[in-house]
Subunit: 380 residues, 4 copies
Amino acid sequence: PRAREAGVIVGILPTGPLNAITDVAGVAVGHVTIIRGDDVRTGVTAILPHTGNIFREKVPGAVFVGNGFGKLTGSTQVAELGEIETPIILTSTLSVPRAADAVLDYVLSLPGNEDVQSVNPLVAETNDGLLNDIRGRYIAREDVLTAIRNARGGPVEEGAVGAGTGTVAFGFKGGIGTASRRLPPNLGGYTVGVLVQTNFGGVLTINGAPVGLELGQHYLRDELRKGAARRTDSSASAAMADDPADGSVIIVIATDAPVDARNLRRLAARAMMGLARTGAAGTNGSGDYAIAFSTAPEVRINMDRARAARYAPLPTKLLSNEAMSPLFLAVIEATEEAIYNSLFRATTMTGRGRTVEALPIERTLEILRRHDALGKRDAR
Amino acid sequence: PRAREAGVIVGILPTGPLNAITDVAGVAVGHVTIIRGDDVRTGVTAILPHTGNIFREKVPGAVFVGNGFGKLTGSTQVAELGEIETPIILTSTLSVPRAADAVLDYVLSLPGNEDVQSVNPLVAETNDGLLNDIRGRYIAREDVLTAIRNARGGPVEEGAVGAGTGTVAFGFKGGIGTASRRLPPNLGGYTVGVLVQTNFGGVLTINGAPVGLELGQHYLRDELRKGAARRTDSSASAAMADDPADGSVIIVIATDAPVDARNLRRLAARAMMGLARTGAAGTNGSGDYAIAFSTAPEVRINMDRARAARYAPLPTKLLSNEAMSPLFLAVIEATEEAIYNSLFRATTMTGRGRTVEALPIERTLEILRRHDALGKRDAR
Amino acid sequence: PRAREAGVIVGILPTGPLNAITDVAGVAVGHVTIIRGDDVRTGVTAILPHTGNIFREKVPGAVFVGNGFGKLTGSTQVAELGEIETPIILTSTLSVPRAADAVLDYVLSLPGNEDVQSVNPLVAETNDGLLNDIRGRYIAREDVLTAIRNARGGPVEEGAVGAGTGTVAFGFKGGIGTASRRLPPNLGGYTVGVLVQTNFGGVLTINGAPVGLELGQHYLRDELRKGAARRTDSSASAAMADDPADGSVIIVIATDAPVDARNLRRLAARAMMGLARTGAAGTNGSGDYAIAFSTAPEVRINMDRARAARYAPLPTKLLSNEAMSPLFLAVIEATEEAIYNSLFRATTMTGRGRTVEALPIERTLEILRRHDALGKRDAR
Amino acid sequence: PRAREAGVIVGILPTGPLNAITDVAGVAVGHVTIIRGDDVRTGVTAILPHTGNIFREKVPGAVFVGNGFGKLTGSTQVAELGEIETPIILTSTLSVPRAADAVLDYVLSLPGNEDVQSVNPLVAETNDGLLNDIRGRYIAREDVLTAIRNARGGPVEEGAVGAGTGTVAFGFKGGIGTASRRLPPNLGGYTVGVLVQTNFGGVLTINGAPVGLELGQHYLRDELRKGAARRTDSSASAAMADDPADGSVIIVIATDAPVDARNLRRLAARAMMGLARTGAAGTNGSGDYAIAFSTAPEVRINMDRARAARYAPLPTKLLSNEAMSPLFLAVIEATEEAIYNSLFRATTMTGRGRTVEALPIERTLEILRRHDALGKRDAR
């Protein structure tokens, strides 16, 4: 089940109808899941701010770097120009270059882009090397193009799919998760949608309940045991710990609120707060990034209009700084819930001779019940 | 009681002996609390990385800006040079300049500083204007000097003292809190201490339990009520909501780990994750800053030694990036616990005709019990 | 003479009518020059983006840190919110806190600000300690208020006035300089004005001519002399070299182009390129900052309008990224010329028993003539 | 000739013996130049901090973003960890992904890297689309591997080679240039080497002489002509102006000074000052990046040593902040001279039916002579 279906009600704001990033109108998501033989467990996830020609109709965007041990490509241009001009691609660490090259194929071949000579692919990644033969770089050009072509609105597949196929979170099978918040009209009525690719560690809490501790699966468990002279664990978690590239999380945030790049960066920064609420430990080796964009028509950057205007200003409409606060909370809540969804929807996966178990839902719910962490939480 | 005395065991790492920033050897803290008449509720807190001449024996340091709606002074030089050269002062927003001027008095008058012509005071602030006649700027030069002179190791006074005298957190009385973590020898044996000045909003959770919700006191409570056409609340919380400068939190982090400015900045960034775990909403108006420094002798910047060396390199010793991870978790946990301590230790305060209640400890513990959030949390 | 009057034609863009920051309509500048006895040589310069209530009618703004060895206060809030809400004050390093406190006095006392509890003074500085008894902190509250009150449009006094009273640039008397550029209509017709406070070192070039070298006055002159076992110079330049706080430059940029904070930051970054063209050496001890703001009515942040709009977006008009390029060049050129003006207009100053000579204009012009660096430069 | 051979003596510091980045011991440079048919004019340049296994023996490094309109990949990890772990590759904009993928091939296949699962390729770029069929992405995997294999110390080929094969600077043929500075012993004796890939615009000055103006070739020339209602120019410069991706410059800085990542970033920032001195206009469309690293053995990050140390600090030696100043000037001067070398050594190139002329050396020297800009510049 999704977390909410199982009774995990995160935060105080209402969700959108799908409780997914696609509640932000126009946003499309596509996955390609690659499972082959014993050792290939990887994939691609594409998030499209809109389904038109994104290069010609750019969206304001921002990248926030929570911890930069990662290979995300495209960040400096997004920071400088405040624009996103390609689909956002998530994939396996060592496949970033090939995915970026495929994005070039996609953009260069779009009608209207015949003269384009400069494109900034925005590709983020996470290390699925525990379950996947990552050095094999199995993501092919066609996989990326298919993920983009597959992208659509509506419900989003979660769990061990797309870029989340081979990932591990809190020692359990992680993957793709999504969630959304829709502000009531008196707070602006805007929607915020989040999609995550989870592959990090920590001490899992769910709605505050100490799930990781009670399941005996968490960061530094072995090191903190009495008399722990040295780690002797040979489990998957130990294998991870030996790998300096011990994961990462990519958080993609969409909103229909008319917000510029500066405030989108602030929005993205809040995603780290949602991440923190799940018990993430923020380790050195985790590449933690948030990418935010606005789909509001009034903030789009239409290249033809910009060129035509030349040195004349273009009209736009923007929320004030003060109006951002409820959106900030929406990001925090949706990020937290999206991470839970990535765990709740993931299934046990075996690869490279290792098995990473899915979060044991029944035992987890039992823990949540013991901590009165299920159901609507309200004033008593 | 402090949170831990009441049974709130945050995280998985052991505390230092005092569970305070002063567990980091050499760190000293001093408060001056100013309560006068009906309207003056303010103060100063000084944190000294060491009790020598900090200007001549600088410590590596970093400032992380979680949300820059604040008047912290001194950040650009700390970022550029990676050094802290004065006591760190916390105080009331509009008193930052006078406090900074007093820091100049202090540094300029220290023996050995007779020729000093340039000093970078590091003064952070929070807005205590709800309970305090902030426009009156009642912090005097002598108050700052007294706080510095008062500074000592040992137990740290918490709650409505020093810079926390007039602050409000989660709608309850906030203030000063502190906590620490001491890593076991197999993780390096280093100590991390945190001191916070709390004055922000959100939806309070304590060890994951939904305290704010169950007490009916949280951010957006009124706006989210059914049929909430407009806010009609006239409580303190409403007064705050009308004030765009709606608070802030300053988090000061000390460690004896030999860490350079770059890794101290990363350490400081993790403080925001501890903040997030308490339910902070990250609102626009909250100035959220973390300041980190190392007291390790091998990373000190001794001006005379640096001058003597001129163009020759100076020996130092530094932890690797990978060795940072347990320290990151220590910051997260100590920050979370320090915030709880600021609430648990604060007492009801009246000022400017308004009363901000202390967190109701009994009801809070009841909620924590219901959510099984007290006592040692461990595998079951 | 001003540089241009002496034949120094910098760059290719036309100036505004005054060749001053005040060519940007509404911008006002005020100086207070403090010369007392033998040892006090300091002052204050105030730049007002407009002469209304800046707190209630904020302007978009940005601070770019070229080298952060400086005590500029207010930068984190400007970066976060993209707004400037006070006059910009330039003064002596150790007087920043008192100047900031005076700015609070000013803002808090303005009609309409009776309820204001949070103000972000933007005060930048430079170290005038070579000629001025800087430790005496002679800038009084009233001096700052007078500089603000004195501020007006029209011609701007340059040289050893205001915050430039005691400064030294390239070993000569520096001070305040200003210049402007007005883009032709086919490039948008916007005006860019720059005001500088110069107090840094390097190897002075003027319009490319090696003035510092030929006058035998430049950074590292003594160290580079053959057989230079150690520096034995006892001149002012040597005194400076011994001071780790060896100066700084503050560059204030105004434009009437409708530009948001992100593009203002980019504009500010280009000021460092103008600085570089004068031969600045970018030394460790020089605090080099640029502050940029836009006066365009369509980008103002009116607090009352923002509050009234609450969660609805506000209309604005903005230049595209591509339209910025001519403005970038305008900043580079105006900064370079403003620095020359600060030197050309400064007069020899004695303080603390030291004399810093003005740039010897006749010898300088001779050098410029020899290098064919005077008069209109154009295709041949 | 190289600029210095032609009499252009930049700055006041002495050069290294080769006046090249390879004056920094151990640094190696390799080019692959790709010229095919009428439309392929591109290439690859590889810079190796040392010729060992860079992944296992990382060097401290930093990336400074002067203007982020560029596709440089790898920057966030360098910023976070302060390390460079691969050869630095320069190439054509749209070939960055394929070049990055080839770097992965290289690193993954090195002996000792059999278990590596995460690599951060550092690939920078510039747009050679004016002369090169950039959309064809003609850089093959083997080209990148060959450039790395070709890399060696000693003299560096300059001009229209490697990544500079198809680039244009100031309207003339640009390309690869290099230069160095060696500080005298009393300033530390360190060497700084710079290599540039030039592809940007502005108003060229050489040693301060207005070469671009006098040759009638510069940014905004047509727009600024009297009565310029609109641009009607159909030259290469016009073609460029129509392309929003109008170039960039990549500046790679090597030093043997023992400097950490923070001070390397400061070093890199100064490269923009050297760039500015050549008349660069800092336009929106120019992606201007500087990458700096130190080769000093005492600051290397040896993975095996770091792993072995685990939570114990590792000894290192570092220059103080104050010791950086002469290195800063060295970067400024070497960058300026490297850019001149890129122009002086480039040859006229035809591609895609367009011809970009080399800088006319004779006319240029004539201009330099008229401005007395040749030969040793010294006090008179």
